[in-house]
């Protein structure tokens, strides 16, 4: 069990996470949803240990979590120029010999002998994901893992995450696309004003759509409609 208790993170004077508490059971895929700037990535950074915690604690199976417990797939993935996909994955294999580079690359259809900088955005995402998988850590944090993936890869990743959860991993992922989360997650946590505003089970996923849209969406659409009809309305 990954327990996050009363977490508080600030950037300067701005509090991003305000007393956030969350329990993540292993064996389930947990999704995190919230509007831009609500602190999704900050929460993942905090669990990984690269931001300073002002207050609160994060424990894995009763002990304080360490970065070596966590595999973290970030939104933007950095590799190293002029190395191929195969060379990148072999770095992970050197430390975890059981990691089968060839077989995994077949699963995600990666052209391993091409330079990584020539990969498409989706391919780079898949390669970075395989690297995280190669680390073989009990907790997986995935920030926007579906970005740039084609339909088949999207589906495949969703199924893969379920398999990983069944094998005992604790998985927390974020996405701006609600459909990607509802398809892959067992629980979805809604983040609002720096805290968890609610946790939803599959039967309740239908409610999320309405909750995600702010009360002002209608007004914004009205304004956009007016602008398109009469561009001078902008003035």
């Amino acid at each position: 069990m990954l327990s996050i208790d009363s977490l508080e993170v600030r950037y300067g004077a701005a509090a991003v996470l305000r007393g956030l508490s969350l329990e993540l059971e292993p064996g389930l895929v947990h999704g995190l949803i919230g509007r831009n700037g609500e602190g999704k990535t900050t929460l993942l950074d905090a669990v990984f240990g690269v931001v300073h915690l002002w207050a609160g604690s994060i424990h894995l199976r009763g002990a304080p979590i360490r970065s070596c417990d966590v595999g973290y797939l970030q939104t933007h993935n950095f590799f190293y120029p002029r190395i191929t996909g195969r060379e990148y994955l072999r770095i992970f294999q050197a430390h975890h010999p059981a990691f089968d580079v060839e077989a995994w690359s077949q699963v995600l259809e990666l052209p391993l002998d091409r330079l990584v900088e020539r990969y498409s955005a989706g391919m780079q995402k898949k390669l970075a994901f395989l690297g995280i998988l190669g680390l073989d850590r009990p907790v997986l944090l995935l920030d926007e893992p579906f970005n740039g993936l084609d339909l088949e890869s999207n589906h495949l990743l969703g199924r893969l995450l379920r398999m990983l959860a069944v094998s005992g991993k604790t998985i927390l992922l974020t996405s701006h696309i609600l459909e990607s989360l509802t398809r892959s997650c067992d629980r979805i946590h809604l983040l609002a004003t720096g805290a968890v505003a609610g946790t939803f089970r599959p039967a309740e996923f239908d409610r999320l759509d309405a909750l995600m849209l702010s009360g002002a969406t209608g007004e914004k659409l009205d304004l956009a409609h007016r602008l398109l009809a009469h561009p001078e309305a902008r003035r």
């Binding site: 240990g49 970065s67 070596c68 993935n77 950095f78 190293y80 120029p81 430390h95 680390l135």
Partner: protein
């Protein structure tokens, strides 16, 4: 659209000029000094006829290289900008530091070479160099290298410097009877790997080693020094064959070369930011490390300081590992 874009670019330059002294004051001073010296040299060269032609040729070469290396032609086309007009305006501004001294010393004919080239170049397709590089990279897979996967800086560095290294080895093989050539080649071969560490990797490639910051740095430095000696071995062997009495020269090059390489690695991790390339401060500081070798205690102090900085900078990423 041309004027707002041009003004936007000038605003970007002004912003950089305003921010650089705050963020990297040392680099700002060096850049300013270099620009000042360059402008002074341009004025000085226009003092004689040969120099004037040289300055005019320089203006064409600068414009040509900017035009060949630029990557924004497609974007500007898509954005509906009159890109040729924008290029012409930019190049006319760019050739001013060359044309103004020429106008005062040589008259309008030579001074018009720069603006004339600017107008001509703006009509030609831009970005041929990146287009050619991209096409070449798409065509072929890179050659696999017999190096450990975890030495990815060396894999990348070899690919980037393969041609230069081949030329150096060839020069050493063909001209090994000349001591000066052999020493120069050895120095260049030994200094080349310091440039392999200029790119930044992602956090994953740092923590995949599962080592504490100190152990991580020891591993990186130890591995790179072994590879450096392997890289220099063919030239050192030629030295031993051709000039056996001077056996100590390869050692005298390799030992300081290893220190410079260690300095390059420490500098990289002292200023490590995920995925970021080394800023201008890093090559300058590496120059300082190299220069400090004249006074070994200064070099030792500098390396010690860099070690401490690197360990502190890596701490947030690697504090979980106690090996």
């Amino acid at each position: 659209m041309t004027i707002p874009l041009l003004l936007l670019r000038l605003r970007i330059i002004r912003r950089i000029a305003a921010e650089l002294p705050r963020t990297e004051p040392f680099a700002a001073v060096v850049i300013l000094a270099m620009l000042g010296v360059a402008q002074w040299r341009l004025f000085a060269w226009t003092g004689d006829a040969k120099g004037r032609w040289f300055v005019a040729a320089c203006s064409v070469a600068v414009l040509l290289s900017v035009h060949a290396a630029r990557r924004d032609e497609r974007f500007l086309r898509i954005a509906g900008v009159a890109h040729r007009r924008l290029f012409a305006a930019e190049y006319l501004l760019l050739c001013l530091p060359f044309s103004v001294p020429l106008l005062f010393s040589a008259g309008p004919q030579l001074a018009a070479v720069g603006p004339g080239s600017a107008l001509l170049l703006s009509l030609l397709p831009a970005g041929l160099v990146p287009a050619f590089a991209a096409q070449r990279a798409q065509r072929r897979s890179p050659v696999p290298l017999p190096l450990p996967a975890t030495a990815f800086e060396w894999l990348a560095g070899f690919r980037r410097s393969a041609l230069a290294l081949c030329i150096l080895y060839l020069a050493a093989a063909l001209l090994s009877q000349h001591l000066t050539v052999l020493v120069a080649v050895l120095v260049l071969v030994v200094l080349t790997p310091a440039a392999f560490y200029r790119d930044g990797e992602g956090i994953t490639l740092v923590e995949v080693f599962a080592l504490s910051p100190a152990a991580f740095l020891r591993h990186k430095i130890g591995r790179s020094v072994v590879l450096l000696w392997g890289l220099a071995a063919p030239v050192a062997a030629l030295f031993a064959l051709r000039h056996p009495a001077l056996w100590y020269i390869p050692l005298a090059v390799l030992v300081p070369g290893s220190v410079v390489l260690a300095g390059a690695i420490l500098l990289k991790y002292a200023f490590y930011r995920e995925g970021a390339r080394a800023g201008i401060a890093v090559p300058l500081a590496l120059g300082a490390v190299t220069a400090s070798l004249v006074l070994p205690p200064v070099a030792a102090l500098l390396l010690h300081r860099l070690w401490k900085l690197s360990v502190r900078n890596l701490e947030p990423y690697l504090n979980a590992f106690d090996r």
